[in-house]
């Protein structure tokens, strides 16, 4: 590195990166923390019921729990494959 480069380069701001990563991670972990503990089992049982009729993958079903001051919402999202499997 030449002397000129030394003056030109702006150092990467790793603290900023750390903060961004933390904000995403902590938000995710907090939302999981507030979920009811029965959620994973509920998801598995729903998956079993649906699989009686349609073959779907583990990733095709999502169960989200959100709560604010007024209400708690349980959101269920199932992606049904386009090609019906015989």
């Amino acid at each position: 590195m030449s002397l000129l480069d030394y003056f030109k380069t702006t150092k990467p701001n790793s603290a900023k990166l750390a903060k961004e990563r933390l904000q995403i991670l902590v938000a995710h972990e907090r939302s999981e923390r507030n979920q009811p503990s029965y959620l994973p089992q509920l998801k598995q049982e729903l998956l079993n019921v649906i699989r009686k009729y349609i073959q779907i993958n583990q990733d095709d079903i999502s169960v989200n729990f959100e709560s604010d001051d007024e209400q708690e919402t349980l959101e269920l999202n199932i992606v049904i494959p386009e090609q019906p499997q015989s």
Partner: protein, 270 residues
């Protein structure tokens, strides 16, 4: 009424024991009768930091198992007669602590002590859970570093859901942030999370910033709580923290870089 303070962090090596020793000594020096308890059963170290390792006869687990009385196990500090230490057992494991046993010991201490400082072990197992279970106040010791901040946030979740106060629906534990090993120079260079960054994420009341300081190692080498080193920044920072905790309004220090001249740079202060 006694006040129970837990010093916690989740992550190890961030300065829990250093902080416990410093604030317990600080509160005692202010004239408050203070007990500090080591909850790290099997890995006791508070006795070393306080310089009383050779005076340990009975420990916390002995008291819980009624093999010794509380008065037999408590070690009175030689520098400050208002400070007492209850060491952890070195030969047992964490399962030797029971909620009922810990509760009994704390109740008995609460009869005569003003402050009870619980030095939590790292992790989220039994020792850590019991250290925070009965707390009124939590000092969350955090380093400006991602894994420490994440673990602190996890601890906050546990404090708000698994403590006695949470279970009884009482007023929640008061949580305070102690940001330790802070290096204003690296913050300025963008290499370290700033006080504001950490507060943005954890949203905690800041009790104080403890700068990275050589005096912390010097203090532990000699078994002296760093708060007694009144010339050091870390010692002054802990004094401020004790004052703020007791309700004094003190401006924060050690957040910004020192304005050092060439002379100061050549002769680096501690």
């Amino acid at each position: 009424m006694a006040r129970i303070i837990v010093v916690t962090s989740g992550k190890g090596g961030v300065g829990k024991t250093t902080t416990s020793a410093a604030i317990a000594m600080g509160l005692a020096k202010k004239g408050h009768k203070t007990a500090v308890i080591d909850f790290d059963v099997g890995l006791r170290n508070l006795d070393l930091i306080l310089g009383c390792e050779r005076r340990v006869v009975y420990d916390f687990v002995n008291v819980i198992n009624e093999e010794a009385t509380l008065n037999q196990a408590l070690i009175r500090d030689k520098r400050c007669n208002q400070l007492y230490i209850l060491p952890a057992s070195q030969t047992r494991d964490k399962d030797a602590l029971t909620q009922e046993g810990v509760g009994k010991v704390l109740d008995e201490l609460a009869k005569t002590f003003k402050y009870i400082v619980c030095d939590s072990p790292a992790g989220i197992e039994r020792g850590a859970n019991l250290a925070m279970y009965f707390a009124d106040d939590a000092f969350v010791v955090t380093n400006p570093e991602i894994s420490s901040v994440r673990d602190s946030d996890r601890m906050l979740g546990i404090l708000s859901s698994k403590s006695k106060r949470a279970e009884n629906g009482d007023e929640p534990i008061k949580e305070f942030l102690l940001l330790s090993r802070y290096d204003p120079t690296r913050v300025k260079l963008g290499e370290m999370l700033s006080v504001e960054d950490v507060q943005d994420i954890l949203s905690l009341h800041l009790l104080g910033v403890i700068p990275e300081s050589k005096s912390v190692l010097n203090a532990s080498n000699s078994g002296t709580p760093v708060i007694l080193d009144e010339t050091s920044k870390a010692g002054q920072s802990y004094s401020d923290i004790v004052d703020r905790y007791l309700g004094e309004d003190k401006p924060h220090r050690f957040i910004d870089e020192d304005k050092k001249g060439l002379f100061g740079r050549l002769f680096r202060s501690k």
